[in-house]
Amino acid sequence: MQHALSGTATPTATPAASALWWPATRLLLGLTLLLGLGYPLAVTGLAQWLFPAQAQGSLLQQQGRTVGLALVGQAFSKPGEFWGRPSATASTPYNGAGSGGSNLGPANPALAKAVAERIAALKAAGPLPAGPVPADLVTASASGLDPHISLAAALYQVPRVAAARQLDAAKLAQRVRQQAEQAWFGSDATARVNVLQLNLALARS
């Protein structure tokens, strides 16, 4: 490159090597101290002081014991619980130390097979309403730790949960709606429910 470009406007002579290596080393190490230790430790100190709960991961306690994190889903599978999204995390579902999605392409037969199996599992677990299955309930989330399901996916499970807990389905659906969060600029079609908090509320009552 150097040779090929000679003959063009090149006003400054190439300097001695030491004039490059020494400032580069010094700058790299100095900025590593400032940005690699000073900055993250300062943020850690400020975060622990200003927002101690969030800085530790927003733990949810029940009777003095950690039962989960508000932001992270869990592998609910009993008929009397609302189920979260299918999870494709490494080794076990909802592995909080191995986040990730399935990475299955849309035309991959393995995707259709997995979805068909999940629909079968839903049907086997208890009564379901008529109509199509909400898509988020039978497809793996991106992180494998998604704490939410769509409102439609929660309502879809109401007959099963109500039967297992011997609750009135209409009242349970009402409670699910109360727990729903609206998306920005959204409607009921894009509303969502935090599955852990919904199940915690059910367990309390």
């Binding site: 790299l28 400032l34 900055y39 943020v43 497809t139």
Partner: protein, 562 residues
């Protein structure tokens, strides 16, 4: 759902446009090398502590400084990964990173790519994350901005050999720009729920009854610069889809804005340096046109859902949910997908491998355009300026006049550098993809059958050579073959572009600046914006359409023809 998307897009573009001006005002004095008087005392003290003399460099010296600084950075990052087992801040007791992966990761972070062949929470110690990876998040961003500064100086200085001082540029950009912005953004992220702790991972018995270990760490501090520096390397494997990296709709919006903030500000700073702010807005408009069109395209593709699943009784009306998070939904996922690939960020809040065929093609194509639609911090601007030179050259050919841009006559040497910049990355992408589908170790990495498998490879090389870093992540890329080949693609895609860009800057700076006359083509109006968009799209389309036809287009036809 489309209404929700258009509302979000409008809000995003409004906030971005409002912030471009103040960011440009912040960047312009740094780019011009003229700090306000009240900063002088602090600035000279800072340079003294760093042992730097702010003397002008010619383009060769500037280029050598870039190369030396980044080579040293890569060596240091490699060493940190290999030695992390004996270094502090390692509560999970992570051992040395395997050599091939450490090589790939060192290049990946130094080149602002942040391609990740490893899973963060099971590979990297907190020390490596903070003092290794996050430091390069800052420094690779500062390098890109410095090179953009040098090219801006090339356009705006007259008969000068001085492109500025690389050491001073990196230092000032890091300390005056990236550090304060990151500090602020990191604290907002913590408030929203992003952890920031040096404690070990959290173990508990979940309400659901199973044991759960939750990876924690100094996430927020890394997250902030990951986005502001268009780096994209996640603390966790799931990146910005992980609830700890991106917990709410607000953090998602802030992440998208953070990605575009500096690239948008740089266009405005360019206009200020050129003495005509419309020059900056013209670049901003050209970028926005391509961005908005692609964002709408991704949303349209994703909200169509997957007909193969609808055939099984799945509700197709809510969109393609595989690999997406409910708190983002179709709208905020589609917008993020477009932002992260228009810019060379590569953070993901959805798994791109599971996008619909066309929803996956658009992000791939945005990378293949050369990461000039806002692009990487610095690299987006210098890439777009190279296309601007191409555009005035094409216009000059059409009307038979010597092309000029900002009063600089564009001559043979300049066009050779432009051609080098524009041809380097396609050569890397197409040669790398072709080799990988012919060689056994390349094919061994494919996770999906058929056309989608080819898309995985094409996406990987598009991402690496254009320094994006996102992936069709089903591809098993943590192998000797892909670590080496993608590492080389990332290095050349970065520095084999930067050197000719600096050569162009040097050549332009040495020229006279001609007065604007009635015969000069204006480079701030609709005609030029159209010409610029046309040049970018035409080069991108001609280069990549055959390859795209074999991958996502074929896949789309197969899915919908059944």
């Amino acid at each position: 759902m489309m209404l929700q998307f258009y509302s979000l897009l409008a809000l995003f573009m409004l906030l971005l446009t409002l912030s471009a001006r103040p960011m440009g005002a912040w960047l312009a004095p740094l780019a011009a090398g003229q700090l306000p008087a009240r900063w002088q005392t602090f600035d000279s003290a800072l340079l003294r502590v760093a042992g730097i003399r702010d003397t002008g460099m010619g383009w060769r010296q500037y280029a050598l400084a870039v190369l030396v600084f980044n080579l040293l950075g890569a060596l240091l990052l490699y060493a940190l990964q290999r030695l992390q087992g004996v270094l502090p801040f390692n509560p999970q007791g992570m051992g040395a990173v395997e050599a091939g992966s450490a090589f790939n990761t060192a290049i990946s972070f130094v080149t602002n790519t942040n391609w990740q062949g490893y899973a963060g929470e099971s590979t990297m110690s907190y020390f490596t994350q903070m003092a290794g990876l996050a430091v390069q998040n800052f420094l690779s961003a500062a390098t890109g901005i410095a090179v953009a500064f040098a090219l801006m100086r090339g356009f705006t200085r007259r008969e000068s050999a001085d492109l500025g001082n690389f050491w001073a540029d990196v230092l000032r950009v890091s300390v005056y720009l990236l550090l304060p912005l990151s500090l602020l953004l990191a604290l907002v992220f913590v408030q929203q729920g992003v952890p920031q702790t040096l404690a070990a991972y959290s173990d508990y018995t979940a309400l659901a009854g199973h044991a759960q270990t939750l990876a924690l760490g100094p996430v927020a501090s890394q997250e902030a610069i990951k986005l502001l520096g268009t780096n994209g390397g996640g603390f966790f494997n799931a990146n910005s889809a992980h609830p700890f990296e991106n917990p709410t709709e607000l953090t998602n919006l802030l992440q998208m804005l953070a990605i575009f903030l500096i690239p948008a500000g740089l266009t405005h700073a360019f206009g200020r340096l050129a003495g005509d702010r419309r020059q900056g807005w013209a670049l901003y408009a050209a970028m926005s046109v391509i961005f908005i069109a692609c964002a709408i395209g991704v949303m349209a593709a994703e909200s169509q859902g997957n007909p193969l699943l609808a055939a099984l009784g799945v509700d197709g009306s809510s969109g393609n949910w595989e690999g997406k998070e409910v708190r983002f939904g179709m709208a905020a996922s589609s917008l993020f997908i477009t932002v992260t690939t228009a810019a060379s960020c590569g953070a993901v809040n959805a798994m791109h491998d599971s996008l619909t065929a066309l929803g996956g093609m658009l992000p791939m194509w945005l990378m293949q355009l050369g990461e000039v639609v806002f692009g990487g911090v610095g690299s987006g601007l210098y890439g777009m300026l190279v296309f601007a030179v191409l555009a005035v050259f094409v216009a000059g050919l059409m009307v038979g006049r010597t092309p000029e841009y900002l009063g600089k006559k564009i001559e043979a040497f300049d066009m050779k550098m432009v051609a080098l910049v524009i041809l380097t990355t396609p050569a890397l992408v197409l040669a790398g993809s072709a080799a990988s589908v012919l060689l056994a170790p390349g094919l061994a990495g494919l996770a999906n059958p058929g056309a989608h498998g080819f898309s995985e490879v094409l996406y990987a090389f598009s991402s690496a050579a254009n320094n994006n870093g996102s992936a069709f992540a089903g591809l098993s890329a943590n192998t000797a073959y892909y670590n080496a080949l993608l590492g080389i693609a990332m290095w050349l895609g970065r520095f084999a572009v930067i050197v000719p860009v600096l050569a162009l800057a040097g050549s332009l700076a040495a020229k006279k600046t001609l007065a604007t006359t009635n015969g000069s083509m204006p480079t701030h109006g609709g005609l030029f914006i159209g010409l610029l968009v046309g040049s970018v799209l035409l080069v991108g389309a001609l280069t990549y359409l055959p390859a795209l036809a074999l991958g996502p287009v074929a896949e789309h036809l197969m899915i919908w023809a059944r």
